[in-house]
C-alpha cells in the first residue's frame, strides 16, 4: 500500500459550531499536507452536521469525512471513539490532529489505544522533517515532528512516531493561528456509517450546564498575569486592579492556579491559553518554558520580579526588578496620571 500522506483534523462541534481550535488546526494541517504532498481532511461527527462542512472547506479542508447518526448527537467517549477508529482505518491519513479540549483529550487517547499508535499531548509546534531511527534501523524522509515543552525547565522535546500510522497529536486552542476563511471554497464530502452497537450507548447524559465564557484571554489587548510571587488569593486583587485600570484581562501562571489563587480559566501557557496581546505584564512569574510558550509572541512584555535572574526577565522587553506590592500600585498611580 502507498505511504499515507493526508493530514486530518478532528472537527469538534461545540454549541452547534465547529470549535475554533479545529479551524486553527486546519491551517496547520494545510502546511503539513503541502510538505507531505497530501490532502487536508476533517472528521466530522454528529447528528445533523452536514452544513458545518462549508466552514471546514472554507478553512482549507479538501475532504470532509462525515458520520451522521442520532447516536452521535452529543459527544460520548464510546460511540465517538468507535466511529472515529473506523473512519481512520478506512481513510488512512498520515496525521490526525485534535484540539486539546476536554473532548479532544478524552477521545484522542482512546482512539490511539485502539489503533495502537502514538499520541503526543499539547504540542506547541508541528513540523515535517526527516528522521533516522536507530531502533528500527530505517530512514524516514518525512515524519511529523511533535514539539512540546518537556518536563519543567528550559527544555523543548521533539517527539516522533516512526513506525505507526497515523501520527497523532493534540494542540491547545490558540497555539496555531486561524487562517482567513475563503468563502465559497469547495471540497469533497465523504459519508461514513455513524451507527454503533447498542452496548456502546450505555452512558446517558443527564444534565448539561454551559457557563458563559467569562474570561476571554485570546481577544484581550492587555493582559496582566500573576504568578506564585503574588503570594495569596487575597493579594491577587492587586493584579485585578491593575488589569482593570489598564482595561485588560487577568491572566495567571499555572503555579498561581495550582496554588488556588485564581481559577483555571485564567491560566496562560502550554496547558492553559496561548495569548498574543499587545501588552503582557507578568507579575511574580518566574517564566517556566510552559508559561513562555503561551505568551512569548505578545507584542510587548513587561516583567515584574524580585529575582533579577528570573527567566521571564530575559524575554521581557521591559524588566522591573522589584516587589510587585510596591511596583503595581506605583504603576496604577502613574498610569492614571498620564491617562488624564
Amino acid at each position: 500500500m502507498d505511504e499515507p500522506k493526508n493530514v486530518c483534523v478532528f472537527a469538534e462541534v461545540q454549541d452547534g459550531q465547529v470549535a475554533e481550535v479545529s479551524l486553527e488546526l486546519l491551517g496547520k494541517a494545510a502546511e503539513l499536507a503541502a510538505e507531505l504532498g497530501g490532502r487536508v481532511g476533517a472528521f466530522l461527527l454528529g447528528e445533523s452536521v452536514e452544513h458545518l462542512a462549508t466552514a471546514l472547506f472554507a478553512h482549507g479542508c479538501d475532504e470532509v469525512h462525515m458520520a451522521q447518526h442520532r447516536a452521535l448527537a452529543h459527544y460520548a467517549s464510546l460511540p465517538y471513539a468507535d466511529v472515529l477508529v473506523r473512519m481512520v482505518r478506512e481513510s488512512r491519513p498520515a496525521v490526525v490532529l485534535f484540539g486539546a479540549t476536554t473532548t479532544g483529550r478524552d477521545l484522542a487517547p482512546r482512539v490511539a489505544s485502539a489503533l495502537r499508535v502514538g499520541l503526543t499531548a499539547d504540542c506547541t509546534d508541528l513540523r515535517i522533517g526527516p528522521h533516522q531511527d536507530l531502533v528500527a534501523g530505517r530512514d524516514y524522509p518525512k515524519l511529523l515532528y511533535q514539539i512540546r515543552p518537556a518536563f519543567g525547565g528550559n527544555i523543548i522535546a521533539t517527539i516522533v512516531n516512526p513506525e505507526t500510522r497515523p501520527q497523532m497529536a493534540t494542540v491547545r486552542e490558540g497555539v496555531m493561528r486561524m487562517g482567513a476563511a475563503k468563502p465559497g471554497r469547495r471540497g469533497k464530502l465523504i459519508r461514513f456509517d455513524g451507527s454503533v452497537e447498542r452496548s456502546l450507548l450505555c452512558v446517558e447524559l443527564l444534565e448539561e450546564h454551559r457557563a458563559e465564557r467569562k474570561v476571554n484571554l485570546k481577544k484581550a489587548n492587555v493582559i496582566v498575569s500573576g504568578g506564585a510571587g503574588v503570594g495569596s488569593k487575597e493579594n491577587f486583587a492587586l493584579i485585578r486592579r491593575l488589569a482593570e485600570t489598564l482595561g485588560g484581562e487577568v491572566g495567571a501562571s499555572r503555579a498561581a492556579v495550582d496554588a488556588g489563587f485564581i481559577e483555571k480559566a485564567h491560566q496562560v501557557g502550554q496547558t492553559g491559553t496561548t495569548v498574543r496581546p499587545k501588552l503582557y505584564i507578568a507579575c511574580g512569574i518566574s517564566g517556566a518554558v510552559q508559561h513562555r510558550a503561551g505568551m512569548q509572541e505578545s507584542s510587548k512584555i513587561v516583567a515584574i520580579n524580585t529575582d533579577p535572574n528570573a527567566p521571564i526577565l530575559q524575554i521581557a522587553h521591559y524588566g522591573i526588578v522589584g516587589d510587585l506590592n510596591q511596583v503595581i500600585p506605583t504603576l496604577i498611580d502613574v498610569y492614571k496620571e498620564h491617562a488624564k
Binding site: V117, F151, G153, N154, T158, I320, V334
Partner: protein, 289 residues
C-alpha cells in the same frame, strides 16, 4: 454493596524542584536527581476511592508501575488507607510511553480480582498528558468518565458522575465497571494516618528485601498485611514487545535547551520616574488604544 476499587498511581519527580541538570542525554528524566512524590491528582483518586469504601464498604487496591523505588509511593497509599498495594517493576517496562504503560497496567488489573471501579488521577505533573486513563479504559474495554469532580450516586449497577468541562459541567450515568479520572477539585486528600503509618512503614516489596526475600518471609509479610505485591512482566503475562521501549510508538527525537531571547531588553527602575518613563513609552506606541 461493597466495591472492589483499583487506583492507578504514578510516582513523579516533584517538578517544583526541577532543574535542567535532571535531564539525561536521551531526553528522559533522571528521576534520581529529584525528590519523588505521589502524583497529586492520584491522591485525589485515592481519596475518592476511600470515601466510596467508607460509605459502602469494599476494598481499595493501589497499583503503580515504576522502578523499585516506587514502592515508597505504595507505602504512602497504605498510610492513607489503601488496603492492598501492587508494584509493577521490571526492566522490560523501562522507557514505556503512555500506550505501553496503559498496556502493562491493563495486564496487572486483569490479574487482580475484577474491579467495579478503576480510578486514575486526571493527569501526572511530569508529563501532563492525561492519556493513561482513556487508554487503560480502552484496553480493559470499560466505559470512561474523565475530569470527574464528584460521584453523585453509585449502586451495584451504575454510577452517576459530574464531569468538569472548560465552560461548565455535565452529569453522566453509566454502568459499572467503569474507569474514572479524577480532578484536583474533587476533594482534599486525607493526610497519612499516624496509626497506619506506624504499621505500614514496615511494608515491603520483594525488591526491597534483597537476599531476605524468601518465600517464608514474603508469606509472613502477606499474613500481616505488610507485603507490597511485586509483579514483573512474566507474573502479569505481559507481552514483551508491547511494553517498554519496544511497545512504545513514540520516541524522543531531540531535546533542545531553549535559548532566551532578549533582543531589545530594557531595565526599568522600580521608581516613580522609571515606571513613568515606561508608561509614556507604551502610550507613544499606542499599546492602550
Amino acid at each position: 454493596m461493597a466495591y472492589e476499587i483499583i487506583v492507578c498511581v504514578k510516582q513523579v519527580p516533584d517538578t517544583e524542584n526541577l532543574t535542567g541538570e535532571a535531564m539525561k542525554e536521551d531526553g528522559t528524566v533522571n528521576r534520581a536527581a529529584l525528590p519523588a512524590i505521589v502524583n497529586p491528582e492520584d491522591l485525589n483518586a485515592l481519596e475518592m476511592a476511600l470515601r466510596i469504601k467508607d460509605a459502602h464498604g469494599g476494598r481499595v487496591t493501589t497499583v503503580t508501575m515504576g522502578p523499585p523505588a516506587a514502592a515508597e509511593a505504595m507505602r504512602e497509599c497504605l498510610y492513607r488507607g489503601a488496603d492492598h498495594a501492587v508494584l509493577l517493576t521490571d526492566r522490560r517496562f523501562a522507557a514505556s510511553d503512555t500506550l505501553a504503560t496503559s498496556y502493562v497496567l491493563s495486564c496487572a488489573i486483569r490479574k487482580l480480582p475484577a474491579p467495579d471501579l478503576v480510578l486514575c488521577g486526571r493527569q501526572a505533573i511530569d508529563g501532563d498528558t492525561a492519556q493513561i486513563g482513556p487508554q487503560l479504559a480502552e484496553k480493559l474495554g470499560l466505559p470512561q468518565f474523565t475530569y470527574v469532580e464528584e460521584v453523585r450516586q453509585i449502586s451495584d449497577r451504575s454510577i452517576t458522575v459530574k464531569r468538569v468541562l472548560e465552560h461548565g459541567y455535565e452529569v453522566l450515568r453509566g454502568p459499572l465497571p467503569a474507569l474514572l479520572t479524577v480532578t484536583s477539585s474533587a476533594n482534599d486528600p486525607r493526610p497519612p494516618s499516624a496509626k497506619r503509618l506506624m504499621k505500614h512503614k514496615k511494608a515491603r516489596a520483594a525488591c526491597e528485601l534483597g537476599a531476605q526475600a524468601t518465600p517464608d518471609r514474603l508469606e509472613e509479610l502477606r499474613r500481616r498485611g505488610l507485603l507490597i505485591e511485586q509483579w514483573g512482566a512474566d507474573e502479569i503475562a505481559c507481552d514483551a514487545v508491547s511494553c517498554g521501549g519496544k511497545g512504545s510508538p513514540t520516541r524522543v527525537k531531540e531535546i533542545n535547551f531553549v535559548r532566551l531571547l532578549s533582543e531589545e531588553h530594557k531595565r526599568v527602575e522600580p521608581t516613580k520616574e522609571g515606571i513613568g518613563g515606561l508608561v509614556e513609552e507604551l502610550m507613544r506606541e499606542h499599546i492602550f488604544d
